[in-house]
Each structure stands twice: as C-alpha cells, then as structure tokens.
Symmetry: C2
Subunit: 404 residues, 2 copies
C-alpha cells in the first residue's frame, strides 16, 4: 500500500470522456488499497482561451486579476473529476490551491511555492478520501490567488509529493515517456526507462516539453521519484531518479530547440563594464538571454554574440542598436533562422571525447557550428535552422541511441 | 460622498462590451468621490451551462463539488471587470467569496450567509480601491466553497451593504425597476418609484423575478435601502424602502404566476393527524407546498386542496394516490392549468374592502375563483390559467394602478 500522487495534464482531462477514463484509472489504484492525491491541469486549450479573453481587454492585463481568471481552469477540472468519482461511488474531495495551503511568493503569473501545509490533505487521506488538488495555483501570504506559470501543475504535483513524502509522483501526459530524441523527427528514437534528474532538467529546459524544469528541480531537491507516463496506455513510462540509480550511459538523449534567435555586436570596445551595459539593458526589458559568447579580436575590440527567445528578438535588436551606438560598437547583426542542438548525458561527467565526437559528426554532414556552449552534462551547438532534423538524426545514431 | 454597493446581474456582464459599459458606469460613480463595492453575477447562461455539464456526468452531482464548479462563473466576471478597470487606469481588486470573508452555513447549493467580516474590504476602500466581490458564493467555517442558490448575488450585495453600512445598494438588472404589474402583459403598467420591503417580498415570491426574496428579507432586517435599476439606461429605477417612507397607496401591484399546479383529495376522513400524514410525505419528497385549503363536508369528511410547483406535480400526484389509499380518501384530483393572481399593498393593513373588490372585479368577467389565500398585505386567488391576462388587466385598472 503506497501513497501515490498522480498529475494529469490538459489533454488527459480535455473532455468528460477523458475525465471518465482518468477517474477509472484512479479508482483502480485506490481500490488496490493505495492512498491517492490527484493534481489536475485545466482542460487543454482553456488557459490559452482565458489569456486571449483578457488580451481582448488590454495587452497588459493586471497580473493579480489575470491569475484569478486563470485559476478557474483547474477549479473546473477538479470539481468535475470529483463529481465523476463520487457518481462512481468513490469518496472524493477537491481542494483549490488556497484550500490545499499551497503557499507561494507574490510573483503573479510565475509564483514560486514557498511552502505546503499538508495537514488537511493528510487528514482527508486518513479518512480514505481521494483528494483532487487544483494544479498551477496557490495563494500568497495575504490570501491572493497566484499561478505558477506554464506547466505549473507539474510543480504542484511534485511539491505535494515532497510535502506528503509520497512513494511516487506519476506525471500523466500525452506522451508515454521520455525519449532519446523527438520521435516525430527521428523514427529510431527509443523510450528511456530511467533518466537522471539533471538530464531531465537539461531535457526540460532545452525543449523536450514533457516536464516543467521547476518540477524537476523540486523533485531533485527533495528526492521525489517521478514517473512520466501516458494516461492513454497502460505500459510504464520513464522514471526520473537519482543519478546513482542510473545505468552508465554516456549520452542519454539529443534535444533541439528552434525557439531562439541570435544577436551579434561586432567590434565592441573591449573595456570593463561593456558587457554589463549590454546585458543590463536586455534584462531590464525582461528578456532572458541564453548563450553568450565573446571572441576577442585584435586592437582592443571584441565580437559579442548571444541568443534570446525568438519572441523577444525584435525588441532585443532595437535595444542593441541603441546600445551599439552608445558604446561605439560597429554594427548589430541578427539571425532568426537558427536552431540549438544538444547532446545530454550524466555519463559525460566521467567521459571525455563527447564534444569532439559531436563536432566531427556535424562536420561530416557539412553542418556549420556558429556557437557552442557546454555544461557538465550537456553540449549545445547553434546551427542553421534548416539542418536541425539532419543534425538530430546523425547525432542520435552516432551516440548509439537507436540500438536497443 | 457615499459608500455605494452596486450589483450587476448576468445580462449586464454577458460579454466584454457590456463589462466595459459597467466599468464606465462604476468609474463615473467612483470619480465623483464615492467609495464603490461591486458585486457581480456570472455571465448570462454560464451557471446553467455549468449545471448542464455536471448533469452530463450524473443526475445527482455531489453538491459540494457542484458549488466548486459553479463558483468559477463569478470568479471569471470579477477578474475580467478588474482587468477592465485597471486598464482604464482605475485601481481595482477582486475578492472571491472566501476572500471577502462571506461566511455561510454548510448547505451546499443553497447556503445562508451567517456573517461577513468586512475588515479587508474596509481597508481596501480606505486605500481608494474599487472592490469587486464575486456574488453568489461564500465559504463555510471549514473553508469549503458554498453557493447561495438562484439569484444569490442579490443576497451577497445586500448582505455586504448591511455589513459595510452602505448608503445604498443598487441592484442593476435587465429591467428598469419594479412595475405595478408585468408590462409585457399589461401595457398600462407603471414603474413604481418606491415599494415597501414587505411588498417587494410578496412580489419576489409571487413571480416578479426582479429581486431574490432572501435579499429583500436581508434588506428589511438591516434597513438597507435598495435601488432596483437597469444597467442599460441612466434613469432611476425603484427604491425598496421601509414602510414608513411610503406614500399611502392601498394597492401597489398585481402579480401572477403560472408555475403551480393544484391537487385535491376528496372525502378525506376528518380525524387528527390526517393532514400531517398527507403533508409529511410531500415534504419528505422535497416538494414545497404553497397554498392549502380545507373545506369540511358533512359526515366527518373533508376536501383538502393544495398547490405545488408544476415541476413537482407528477411526483406529488403519485405520492397522494398512495396516501389517499392508505387513509381512505375518495379520490385525488389534479389540475395543471391554473394560475395564481395576487393583489399586493401595505395599505391593506389599514384598509378593508380590498378582497371584496377583487372578487367582484373577477366575478364581473365570469372568472371563477377556485382557491383564495390572504395575508396582511396580499390577497391571492387561484383561477383557470386561460384567464390570467384578463384577470391581471382588469384588476390593474380596478385598483387605479394605470392612472398616473
């Protein structure tokens, strides 16, 4: 008998038929004697519709009020699920973020969980209730409703699993696990049975949209075993676990993203404080910079290249043109047609030669690398967008991910 | 400078255009220096859609969870209104039922307000915020979400006005006030400038669907001046006030309802406990009986007639057929084609002859009266349904309600 936290995403609760399927799955686990806490997202598309509705009023809706509006999405799914479970004879109770005492900071729209008082949930579990908690939402110290940002329900689930010391946190999504790469792009992609927290973090932040990064950070911090699986099939998915529990693979996956754009400032005077000037202006505009590369030229000049989200590209270019003028840089170049391809694996910590192999494989296909960034467990290369699919496939094969 | 509570119904906030008009009206009142608390209903049709959604799952949805679902309706409108007000440069903040500390009993779906701790609202008003409170909802002592039943937002508004000692509670609806009778039925109907709480209570419970009865009871109990008016026009509506503040009219209005059906048990043995048997069974089935009339025949027998909501007619007939058999009554007669026409006026307290005049007027048109019921301030007659319009018109004229 275990305590299991299950999280179902928007596609799993997209309509009453699917909610019925979810209810049946929950009842099976509950009837086997387990305690079950369920965390739900809003029905697929609902959060986006609500955001659009608010944007019909203004481009910049009040953030506190937008969170009040968005919180209705999960409120709807948890109540419908509980009506469903009760109608099937199963004792169920819904809790909204504030009722589950998920306390966050006050950053509306991207709040961070600062604590969960799980006393009420524990008491309800003692009475053998199935507890359905609205994901994505919490309350601040004053009782204002907050939301946790895109994919926040994953974080709700993992945080609850940590607070309840659950045996496992199952993340039900529309894919059946984490793959060695995008199966839509590479038909030889294989499902991973296990992946380390750190690898999953790199996967999540680099574009494999299976699990929110913050949820993985939480899981790692509190050692919550996470099981990523599909609500549409029975078979097991991928376990996200401690590194020690992994078999020794050098590379676990290849990821890519086309969501970034590159900006280069040429012939920047190479004096202290210049980089600060450039990136402070960008940060003030709320733009998140990913990779940064600096190449020193001769004559006290340097070229500075960085990437920003494609959505912020125009704004960032406009800012940099002003900055370039004020600091006396030569010109600002930009490129929206880039992709970032990454090789990920905790095995890299103890293996050398992965980077060299990656560069060789790409060179063999005449794919030019324009930026490189590395961490302990990943190597990312920026390439021309049109080579994305080819790069992913050849790397996937070269690192032996297509063999059983 | 006054403290004004405004309540807008579902048709007034049915879409973003209408919410914009509501926002403009609020800003006018606020900019004139008044403190404004706004109570909103869900968008027209939303509550019904949510109920239908729950009924697609089961005929008898769990009541606690249904309230969680329904509460999303008002949550949506208050957040949208505040986004609108803020985008127009007006400081606004939404409060849900639990945030406004509207505490109710635990009768899900028809909860009664037991207290409002208006401290947070008062503090927000001191900071010159426009406070938008979600109507229709509250929380019980344990923090569960409750709803107040049909038209509950009226009660929310009046209760808040009482708690805040507001100068007036304005109820914005899709009609521009309370009329001497239904204007759709009698083109000479006149708008009343004032109406007493007790008259409004009779109007509300007898079928003039302008204001929820419980809201009027609340207003009467706490002496809250209520102003019923339209959100679509500027002109003033009807003030609901203390009886002492009224001009002396004998009759203020004529109302009617076609929502009831009549059931008669003939030749009922006239012994103690018989009426109890009959009405206990009906009450156990959750059916609300309105009028009850007993005519004693000779020989220790009596005829017993009563009315029930038309929706419950079949169920009530089936029950009474069983009851009739068990108590030895002769037969059960039923009639779904009846109407109840009522003459209402606090002036009746001090005037005799109103009943006689009513009967005379109906008799002159050959309208047969099958049941009569009276209170201090109203006389109701059950007649054949087909005479409803005629009866209303001749009574309206006979009591001088069509003269200016």
């Amino acid at each position: 008998m275990a305590l299991i936290v299950q999280k179902y995403g928007g596609t799993s609760v997209a309509n009453l038929d699917r909610i019925r399927k979810v209810a049946k799955r929950i009842i099976r686990v509950y009837s086997a004697g387990n305690d079950v806490v369920v965390v739900l997202s809003a029905m697929a598309g609902v959060t986006d519709s609500l955001i659009q509705l608010a944007h019909q009023i203004t481009n910049d809706p009040n953030r506190r009020e937008l969170d009040v509006l968005l919180a209705t999405g999960e409120q709807t799914t948890v109540s419908l699920l509980c009506i469903m479970l009760e109608s099937m004879g199963c004792p169920a109770i819904s809790l909204l973020g504030h009722q589950a005492e998920i306390v966050t900071d006050r950053a509306f729209g991207q709040a961070r969980i600062v604590g969960i008082h799980a006393t009420r949930i524990k008491e309800l579990l003692t009475r053998r209730k199935i507890v359905a908690v609205a994901g994505f939402q919490g309350r601040d110290q004053e009782g204002n409703i907050t939301t946790l940002g895109r994919g926040g329900s994953d974080t709700s689930a993992v945080a609850l699993a940590a607070a309840l010391k659950a045996d496992v946190c199952e993340i039900y999504t529309n894919v059946d696990g984490v793959y060695t790469t995008d199966p839509n792009l590479c038909k030889d992609a294989k499902k991973l049975h296990k992946i380390a927290y750190d690898e999953m973090l790199e996967m999540a932040s680099l574009g494999a949209k299976v699990l929110q990064s913050r949820a993985v950070e939480f899981a790692k911090k509190f050692g919550v075993p996470v099981h990523v699986r599909s609500s549409f099939v029975e078979e097991e998915g991928t376990m996200v676990v401690e590194e020690e529990d992994m078999e020794r693979l050098v590379v676990s996956g290849i990821t890519y993203t086309k969501d970034e754009a590159r900006i280069t400032l040429t012939k920047v005077p190479d004096r202290p404080g210049i980089a600060s000037t450039i990136f402070t202006r960008i940060a003030e505009a709320g733009i998140v910079v990913d990779m940064i590369i600096q190449n020193t030229r001769k004559g006290g000049l340097t070229d500075l290249t960085f990437t920003v989200p494609k959505d912020d590209y125009r704004k960032a270019m406009a800012i940099q043109k002003e900055v370039a003028k004020s600091i006396g840089a030569e010109q600002v170049l930009g490129d929206e047609h880039i992709a970032k391809v990454s090789v990920i694996g905790v095995g890299m910590r103890s293996h050398s030669g992965v980077a060299a192999k990656m560069f060789t494989v790409l060179a063999k296909e005449n794919i030019n690398i324009t930026m490189i960034s590395t961490s302990e467990i990943k190597i990312s290369c920026v390439i021309e967008e049109k080579y994305t699919e080819l790069a992913v496939r050849v790397l996937h094969h070269a690192f032996g991910l297509d063999s059983p």
